[in-house]
Each structure stands twice: as C-alpha cells, then as structure tokens.
C-alpha cells in the first residue's frame, strides 16, 4: 500500500527547502522543451513552406509525350543482322507529335477515378514576348484556369489580378513577374506574343504570376487553353500535358506506372521528381530532434546530479524513514516524485516558453521576392508537438531520477545509523 500524500508531502518539502537546486534543475528542462517546441514549430513551418513552394506547383502525376529516339532502331528489326554488333550514328528522335493522343478521353477517364482530385489539360508552347523592339523568349501555357485554381494553390501565385479575370477575358494573359519587370508592364497593359512559326497576337495582361522561382518567373506566362490552341493554330483537342492531383499523394508512383502502361505515354510522379525535397525535410527534422534531445540529455544530467547530491545530503533522513517503517520502495518513490515534479514544472514552463517564442517568430515580418505569399516567418503550431514535448520532459526526468532513487532505495539504514 502506498500512501501518496505522505510521499508527495516529503518530496515537496525536500524540493522547497532546496529551492535553488529545484529551480536550476527545472530550468534545464524548461530550456530543453522550450527549444524543442520553438525549433520543431519553426523547422516544420519552414519545411511546409518549402514543400508548398515546390511541391504544390508540381502535379502529383504529370502526363506528357517524351520526344526521344526509338529504343529499337530499324537495324535491330532486320533478322539477318541479329546477334551482330551494330553501330548506328546520328540517331534522331522518332518523328512524333508532342500532342497527347486521345487527351480528351484520358481526361474523362481520370476525372471518373475516385482517387483523382482533379486533372487539368495544358498546352505548353514556346513563344517570344514582344514589347517595342524587345523580344524575349519564353513559354506560354494554356490552362483551364479555374480548375488549376481549384486543385493547386495557383491562386496564391497570382500577385495581382485573379484567375477569374483570366477566365473572363479570352485574350487575357497572366504574365510572369520577371517578364513584367523586364518589359515594364503591369496589369491592364498589352503585350504581343509571337509563335515560333511567326504569327503575332496581342494579349491583355490581366494578372502577374510570381512563383518565387526566378528562372520560372522570367519565362513563364499563362493564358486560357483555347487561346493558346488558337495562337499555335491547333485544334481544340491539342493538349501536350495533363496534370493530375490525387487525393492521396502516396498513390502517385503506382498510379503513374499504371497510366504509363495503359496509355502508352510518359507519366512522372511527384515522389520521383522531388525526392531531394524529402531529403531536405528529413535533415531539418533530424537537426530539430538532435538539438532538442541534446538539450534534454544535458537537463537530464542536471537532474541526475542534483538528485544524487540531495540523496547524499539526506542519508540520515532516508535511514530514519526506513527505521520508522517506510519501505525502500516508498523512499524510491519520494525521490522519483521529485524528479517527476521537476519534469512537470520544467516541462510545462518549457511548453509555455516554446509557445510564446513560436507566436513571436510567427509575427516577425519576413518578406522576400521569392515568396510572394509569405509575409511573416512560417511557424507550424501543432498540438502534437506539445504532447511530445511534455512526454519528452517526463521521460528524461524519469530516466535521470531512476538511478539515484534506486540508490536511495537500497541504502541500508543500519550502516547510516551506526555511522560507518
């Protein structure tokens, strides 16, 4: 039978009479947990921002036709030369269109799939932007703008103007921010584009597109799909790319493989395309946990030391308690409670400080050209981290308290009372 009120009362008295040590030990934990909360919130916020920056602009699955040489050259088909060592010079890509055959049926098929959140057709062409005597090379992508806005955060990257403005104006264009700057153009101005084949088309700027990646913003613009089809002189079913957004990103690789086989086109999935971003996130997470655990281990050693000292000082008390009927387990519980109390107080303070710092960082202005939608430092506040934090605190104090308290449990009262 354990009488907790007595045990906690003794633990409390020890902690209160050793206020300095208690505060030092608790602050160690506070520091560790506070740092963990701040770091993890900031780091995962950063991760999420960078993921958003790259991944949200990348479709989960991208369908297109690759221009590439035939894997089987004609000579390989010639039976008489089978098994011979054939050398073919100047291999040229197979004569084929960039167009996806049966694009419209494929789109229909995809839209019916319950795993698919949305599929958008695109037509990507190379153009020149003309402004006075300036002629800039670049890309123009024809999109179903409302659908793009629905399945990706396309809207976030339109820094002035809106997707609706593009939808409402057939001859509208969302001009890349870098291009707009180079040509000193703004919303409402006109820009002329010419295709590789020579036709010149005037378009009205209804918005500025800024992805945050300069290389893209210097060449990329968006217009309505049928406008681009008209500019390039192609039919209504001429589509070069299909972007697919899934409900579950983890399905992407399997689905991409399936689509590749089924439709005989190239399908790249986001995981393959962006493996390096995962690595970046993993490393940032690793740093967060490494730093936090290091701080907690330091705090743990602090608690270990302080409890060891306390037990050394309290030898007589321990002997008396045991002589008057407290069991070794009771004595252990007294010192374990002290460790846990330190962990709880220090941990909760750490959570508070972590929360405060997170809120503070979240309000710090952070403006950068590259990230138009970000105005303050990114912070990802999740309840989960606070639970992990307090569990961390209790775990480290438990481990740090266990060894000294076990020593106290084993102290032989006779030896102390004898004074040897």
């Amino acid at each position: 039978m354990t009488n907790w009120s007595v045990i906690l009362n003794i633990a409390k008295t020890h902690l209160l009479t050793k206020m300095k040590s208690t505060v030092t030990a608790s602050l160690g934990v506070t520091f560790g947990i506070g740092a963990y909360i701040t770091l993890v919130s900031f780091m995962t916020g950063l991760n999420q921002m960078l993921d958003d920056l790259i991944l949200n602009q990348t479709p989960h699955i991208h369908l297109y036709n690759e221009i590439e040489p035939s894997p089987k050259q004609p000579v390989n088909l010639y039976g008489d030369l089978e098994g011979a060592f054939n050398v073919v010079h100047s291999v040229k890509p197979k004569q084929s269109q960039r167009k996806i055959h049966n694009a419209l049926p494929i789109l229909d098929y995809l839209k019916k799939d319950p795993n698919v959140k949305g599929a958008t057709p695109q037509l990507r062409i190379q153009i020149f932007y003309l402004s006075g005597s300036i002629e800039l090379g670049g890309n123009l992508t024809g999109v179903d703008v409302m659908e793009e806005a629905r399945i990706s955060n396309f809207r976030d990257y339109i820094v002035s103007g809106s997707p609706e403005a593009l939808r409402n104006l057939d001859s509208g264009i969302l001009l890349g921010a870098g291009l707009a700057k180079k040509m000193s153009l703004g919303v409402g101005d006109r820009v002329q584009v010419s295709t590789v084949t020579g036709g010149i088309f005037p378009l009205k700027i209804v918005g500025i597109y800024q992805s945050g990646i300069a290389d893209i913003d210097n060449i990329q613009s968006y217009a309505n799909l049928n406008t681009v089809q008209r500019i390039s002189g192609e039919a209504q079913n001429y589509i070069t790319d299909i972007n697919v957004k899934l409900n579950a990103i983890s399905e992407a690789p399997a689905m991409a493989q399936r689509l590749e086989k089924q439709f005989g086109i190239r399908a790249t999935d986001i995981n393959t395309a962006n493996a390096q971003f995962e690595t970046g996130s993993d490393i940032r997470n690793l740093i967060t946990y490494a730093v936090s655990i290091t701080l907690l281990i330091v705090a743990g050693f602090g608690i270990y030391n302080i409890l060891n000292m306390l037990i050394y000082e309290k030898m007589n008390d321990i002997a008396i308690l045991k002589a008057t009927g407290f069991s070794g387990r009771d004595v252990q519980l007294i010192f374990m409670s002290q460790a846990i109390i330190i962990g709880l107080i220090g941990g909760f303070l750490g959570l508070l400080i972590g929360f405060g710092l997170s809120v503070f960082i979240d309000q710090l202005p952070f403006n950068t050209e590259a990230l138009p939608t970000i105005t303050t430092f990114p912070v990802n506040m999740q309840f989960r981290y606070y639970v992990i934090g307090i569990v961390f605190a209790l775990l480290s104090t438990f481990v740090a308290g266990y060894l000294p308290s076990n020593k106290a449990k084993k102290i032989d009262p006779v030896r102390i009372i004898r004074g040897t």
Binding site: M1, N3, S5, V6, N9, I10, T13, H14, T17, N316, D317, A319, I320, L321, K322, A323, T324, G325, F326, S327, G328, R329, D330, P413, V414, I417, R418
Partner: protein
C-alpha cells in the same frame, strides 16, 4: 502461559568484512508483555548489532526471531517495513529527526505511513504524545531548532505514535546530561506502568538499569546473564 512480545532463538551473526568476525553467538532470550528490560555490556560486545536485528532492520543473521508470537525471520523487506511501522518504536542515541519538518510533522510521519487513522486523528494523537512528554509547546517548531533533550523526547513521541508492541532504544540517554537522562528514564517507567508498554533498552548507566525489571548482560557477543 506467559505472553512473549519478543523472542530470539539461537541468533548468530557474522561480519564477513574486513575479516570474518562472529559478532553474535547463539543469542536466545525473551521479553514479556509489559516488561522493561535493559541490555548492558562493554562497548563492542554486540548490543547495537543485536538491537538492529531485533528491530528487523538487519536481516543478515541465522536463528529465529518472533514478534507477538509470529515468526519474523525470512519475511520480505516490504513486510518488515510494515512490521517496524506498526509494532516497533525505535529511539536512537543520536536523536535522528527530519530537520526540515516541524516537530509535529516528525511525530506524525510514521502514523501517516501506517494510514490506519485519519490525518486529524493522527495529529490529535501526536499532540497528545507531545503533551504527555511535556513538550506540547514545541509542536510547531522546526525539528532543527530545539535542544538535544527536547529532540530525544520528540523521538520518543515519534516512536510511540502507532502505539507499538515494543519500544527499543540504543543508548537513548547516552548523549544526554543527567537531568535529561533521568527525565527519559522516568518517561519510560511511566509508559510501562501506565500503558503496559514493553521496553528493551541498551544502556551504559548501571543506575538506570538497576531501576528496570531486568538486566540482560552481554560480553563478546554472548548473553552471560539475563
């Protein structure tokens, strides 16, 4: 049949370190209900060692120990703690109190550990014991702020809080001046007479011993007279 509160049968103990030393040799004796017995003997004759065994704190011995007719030898530490808590009051030569607690809290602690009464009841009992020992006015003082004689009386009050079967003392007056020593002796006598308490007290004071029911004399780890 006479009722024994304490019975030792053929208790032997060796210290193995630094060299093998046979410290207690075939100790057998009894303490009756309501008896006030003293243990005397030269320094080093094994009195303290014996008392630590009898109080169940030391379990490293051979032979049997009975308390209230029940065998104590071989019981687990957990059970022995409980037995000490409930049945044995112990007073040391150096009045060990928890210095950070008040006098009252010191006296109450074994009672709270036992958990047989409510906190209020334990406090009432503790104050009563302190009154009985004429130190009721010290209750709220810190244990570290009182004199040696007072501390020893607080230790006695603490030993009595659970109304033990037997009170043991290892030279409880050894560190007190003659006035305080006399005071403690009188308290013990009164406890025996008024409450029928059994006592087993180690002392060097022949005067003290002669005023008790019985003297057990030890020499070189043996009882030579009892």
């Amino acid at each position: 049949m006479m009722k024994y509160v304490l019975e030792a049968r053929h208790i032997d103990k060796h210290f193995k370190k630094p060299v093998d030393f046979h410290v207690l040799k075939d100790i057998s004796f009894t303490v009756r209900q309501g008896e006030f017995a003293t243990v005397m003997g030269k320094s080093g004759s094994g009195k303290s060692t014996l008392l630590y065994i009898l109080s169940t704190m030391d379990t490293d011995y051979t032979g049997e120990l009975y308390l209230n007719g029940g065998l104590v030898t071989g019981k687990s530490h957990q059970i022995l703690s409980r037995i000490r808590n409930e049945h044995i009051g112990f007073v040391f030569q150096f009045h060990y109190l928890l210095s950070e607690f008040s006098v009252l809290e010191n006296v109450m602690l074994p009672g709270k550990k036992l958990g047989a009464r409510t906190e209020e009841q334990i406090e009432r009992d503790a104050r009563e014991k302190l009154e009985m020992l004429n130190i009721g006015y010290l209750a709220e003082k810190r244990a570290s702020r009182i004199s040696g004689g007072e501390k020893q009386r607080v230790a006695i009050a603490r030993a009595l809080i659970n109304n033990p079967t037997i009170l043991m003392g290892d030279e409880p007056t050894g560190n007190l001046d003659s006035y305080n020593a006399e005071n403690v002796l009188q308290i013990f006598t009164r406890l025996k007479e008024e409450q029928g308490l059994s006592l087993l007290v180690v002392t060097h004071d022949l005067d003290f011993a002669q005023r008790t029911d019985r003297i057990i004399e030890m020499e070189d780890g043996r009882i030579i007279k009892s």
